[in-house]
């Protein structure tokens, strides 16, 4: 009787510790998340209707300084629904002027914000619809694809092809 109670207690303690460590590491250092949807195709999920979504490695150390560069792929919680997490590419950084390649407007990104767009402009909800995104919503930067095995590799921080008008 004592023995089983001890065992249960020990297992619970172990599980709680593992949970704590997982939370801490995935919040502060790095985590792995699945990519859903085709908004970043062909960089992620190049085949539509594939059952195997890409899993990507996300590093969190960039959140200390919030220093990003052009073309970085970031995950952030959606400005229109805090429960959703989006994955997009940074097109323009805080305080920059840039040309919106969809309607040729010249825009200035406000301080503390960035302009994000999906690689697949045709099916992507991004800054085109909700405007610049505050950097405070950014949850990490994507560096590698880790699953499926044939797609393992580092992510380039350049857009695959820059179409002049799309």
């Amino acid at each position: 009787m004592m023995g089983t109670r001890n065992l249960v207690w020990n297992v619970t303690k172990k599980l709680a510790t593992i949970g704590l460590i997982t939370f801490t590491v995935s919040d502060r250092y790095a985590t792995v998340v699945p990519v859903r949807g085709a908004s970043m195709s062909p960089t992620f999920n190049p085949k539509t209707n594939s059952f195997t979504d890409d899993y990507v490695f996300v590093e969190k150390l960039c959140l200390d300084k919030f220093k990003f560069s052009h073309g970085d792929i970031v995950i952030f919680s959606s400005p229109s629904n805090f429960k959703e997490t989006h994955i997009k590419r940074i097109i323009a950084l805080p305080g920059e002027w840039f040309v919106n390649r969809h309607n040729q407007d010249v825009l200035k990104v406000p301080e503390g914000h960035c302009w994000v767009e999906g690689d697949n402009a045709a099916s992507s909800t991004d800054s085109k619809s909700y405007g610049p995104v505050p950097l405070g919503l950014v949850r990490g930067r994507v560096t590698h694809v880790v699953w499926p095995p044939q797609r393992i590799g580092a992510v380039k921080n350049t857009t695959p092809e820059r179409l002049p008008s799309s």
Binding site: F76, S80, F82, P110, G112, H113, V138
Partner: protein
Amino acid sequence: MPFMNYIAQWKSVAKEALDRSAIIAKFLCYLHFTGNYLCSPTHAYGPSMLPTLNIAGDVVLVEHVSPRIGKVGHGDLVLVKSPLNPNRNLTKRVVAMEGDTVTYFDPLNSEDSRIAVVPKGHVWIQGDNVYASRDSRHFGPVPYGLIRGKVFFRVWPPSSFGRLDN
């Protein structure tokens, strides 16, 4: 065999060091979890929340549970990541939620009041001291995802120790 003795001694020292660092690491994980998911102290200063919070700086407790489950509502004091600078936190009051119409006036810029509609997934935050507060009247509604926590208890100064009501 003095050599074997030596090795055994080393082993026990290494094991002890490993155990100690494991305890410290666990403790840090525990701190991270409590500070990010449950409750943490913060120092709120500046004139923007007069008369609710003092100008010299109050130490308040912030709980992080309600923002995560979407239980932040009208009149709550919240800790928000500044949309203009992700490294700064603001303490403000939620005045309106998504879909609400707010009538606000900004005595520093204009005499007459203005009307704004809070978009989906956003909140309208304002300081209690409308004369000295930079808030949604300047940078517009902020995404709900920027809310870090709900301020619910004042620890310092001791004279006003106690719950903060809405």
